[in-house]
């Protein structure tokens, strides 16, 4: 009742003024920066090579065939890491969401594990697991699992107790209760968690690759830096940025689609 009233009042009276970002006009400062950079910078500058030299730098001296496999490697680690993080996060989130006792018991351990910066885990992971795909995925999961788990837990807590009472009075088995009541009710919260975890997973994938040199875009940037190819570094930064923009908008549209499907509107 009160929630509906709140939504209505928000609809009839928009909060704040409208703020139009202006996609094209908003790019003006960045474009200006690049133009100035192009004019001032020279292609051989060790620090600020002109933007026009970036793209060719991707395809020089037998390095032209590295890009696509690197992008695929990064995508695979990112995709697998995010998937595993979602499975683990939803599982553990439901566990500590349903049982207050489990929440209190494991809370301090989770809180500490969450506070450890993922970068600090990389040397440990390489020492214990070696330099391979598994190590990369483990580190990504360790970083990306928290938003998903916390949102799932909050989603479980927010479920109307009447729904659970309903399941009980219908004598649903625990597994049926999870499948028919808990999971559907918690879907929007999980989606939010996955959306928050997506950029985290991507950044950590690049970080692991950069720190360990195990395949992917991150390793490629590291190589370019260690061999003093600044133009190549900037070109790879642009590619990483574009991928990040694409992934974020993709995940947002997927989230919206599922949400619409889920709410039936």
């Amino acid at each position: 009742m009160t929630a509906e009233a709140g939504v209505q009042s928000q609809r009839s009276r928009p909060v704040g003024r409208t703020h139009r970002s202006g996609v094209v006009t908003g790019l003006a400062p960045l474009a200006l920066l690049l133009v100035v950079w192009e004019v001032v910078g020279s292609p051989d500058s060790p620090f600020y090579p002109a933007p026009s030299s970036w793209w060719p730098a991707l395809f020089t001296r037998g390095q032209d065939e590295d890009i696509i496999p690197a992008i695929l490697d990064t995508s695979r680690t990112f995709g697998l890491g995010l998937s595993v993080a979602t499975l683990v996060g939803v599982g553990v989130g439901i566990g500590v969401g349903v049982s207050v006792r489990a929440d209190r018991a494991f809370g301090p351990m989770f809180e500490f594990a969450r506070a450890v910066p993922p970068a600090a885990l990389v040397p440990v992971a390489t020492l214990l697991l070696g330099f391979d795909e598994t190590m990369k995925i483990v580190v990504v999961v360790m970083a990306a699992v928290w938003p998903i788990m916390l949102n799932t837990r909050a989603g479980i807590r927010a479920i109307d107790p009447i729904r659970l009472d309903m399941a009980r009075s219908l004598r649903m088995s625990p597994s049926r209760t999870v499948g028919r009541v808990l999971l559907p009710s918690v879907t929007p919260a999980v989606l939010l968690g996955v959306r928050v975890a997506t950029p985290v997973a991507l950044v950590i994938t690049l970080l692991v690759e950069y720190l360990t040199g195990v395949n992917g875009l991150g390793a490629l940037v590291g190589d370019a830096q260690r061999t003093f190819q600044p133009a190549r570094v900037y070109a790879l930064i642009v590619i990483a940025g574009l991928i990040s923009l694409a992934v974020n908008s993709l995940i947002r549209s997927i989230e919206q689609r599922i949400r619409r499907l889920h709410l039936g509107g």
């Binding site: 909060v15 704040g16 703020h19 970002s21 202006g22 996609v23 094209v24 006009t25 908003g26 790019l27 003006a28 400062p29 960045l30 920066l33 600020y48 006792r101 929440d103 209190r104 018991a105 494991f106 809370g107 301090p108 351990m109 989770f110 809180e111 500490f112 594990a113 506070a115 450890v116 910066p117 993922p118 970068a119 600090a120 040397p123 440990v124 390489t126 020492l127 214990l128 916390l150 991507l202 950044v203 690049l206 970080l207 950069y210 720190l211 991150g218 940037v221 370019a224 830096q225 003093f228 600044p230 570094v233 900037y234 790879l236 930064i237 642009v238 990483a240 940025g241 990040s244 923009l245």
Partner: protein, 255 residues
């Protein structure tokens, strides 16, 4: 005062005990996994020779310094973009695009430009930390209710007074969230910068211990990094509670 979480402490102790048993009994192929007792003795030594303290202080100082600079820059820029629709229209997309680039990929560029130095570490920390503050400040300013702006007009406040007395207090909860996000991000970036660039602090301690094949010492630094994260977060929450006792800027605690 909250009662001590006995169950939570118990689980931690049991986990450490299991870990010790597994390593001592050599179950499985874990030749590089140190037992908690070894980590404890490595920690005692690192504390005794002052290495741990020195490195922790370095990381702490750089994190706080970078966070302070990022906060000032993010708050100033955020207020400007939040208050002026024209500035917002003519620059926001640029910031969105730049923000989307993972800060990690700037590490190599920063290394090329600034070399292995404290400056490189600071630049990276500030660059990464500024975004949450900026985005949350803009969001907070935009969410200020129009009635409040009207009140400011009615009281004939000048621009500065309006920002100070109306806009900032109303935007505060969002800004506080941005500041907190930025703080943990700054710590992460400081440690990354120390691992690959500036050879000091906790990050370098990790790498040095890794290369010296001293896994116990490495775990000491991982623990130090985690504890520093927990401590900074707790300090931040405490400071917010102290400065804004009304609770408007307080968030619900997670655990």
């Amino acid at each position: 005062m909250k009662a001590l979480n006995l169950a939570g402490v118990g689980v931690l102790l049991v986990a450490a005990g299991l870990w010790e048993v597994v390593v001592q009994a050599q179950l499985g192929d874990l030749q590089f996994l140190p037992a908690p007792s070894e980590i404890a003795s490595a920690a005692r030594q690192a504390v005794a020779d002052g290495e741990l303290l020195g490195r922790t202080i370095h990381t702490l100082v750089v994190t706080l310094l970078g966070w302070g600079m990022a906060s000032v820059a993010g708050l100033g820029l955020g207020l400007a973009l939040g208050l002026s629709d024209r500035a917002y229209r003519y620059s926001m997309t640029s910031f969105e695009v730049t923000r989307a680039i993972p800060p990690i990929t700037f590490v190599p560029a920063a290394l090329l430009i600034f070399g292995f130095s404290l400056k490189m570490e600071l630049v990276l920390v500030v660059f990464g930390g500024v975004w949450p503050v900026l985005v949350n400040t803009i969001g907070g300013v935009h969410a200020v209710r129009p009635e409040l702006h009207d009140v400011g007009e009615m009281l004939r406040l000048n621009k500065l007074a309006k920002v100070r007395k109306v806009v900032l207090p109303a935007a505060l909860p969002a800004v506080v969230v941005g500041l907190r996000l930025a703080l943990s991000l700054c710590l992460v970036l400081a440690i990354v910068a120390e691992m690959v660039g500036n050879p000091e602090g906790i990050g370098n301690g990790l790498i040095a211990a890794r290369q010296a094949l001293q896994p116990a010492l490495m775990f000491v630094y991982v623990l130090a990094a985690g504890l520093l994260g927990v401590a900074l977060n707790a300090l931040f929450r405490g400071a917010v509670r102290l400065l804004f006792p009304s609770g408007s800027a307080n968030e619900e605690r997670v655990w």
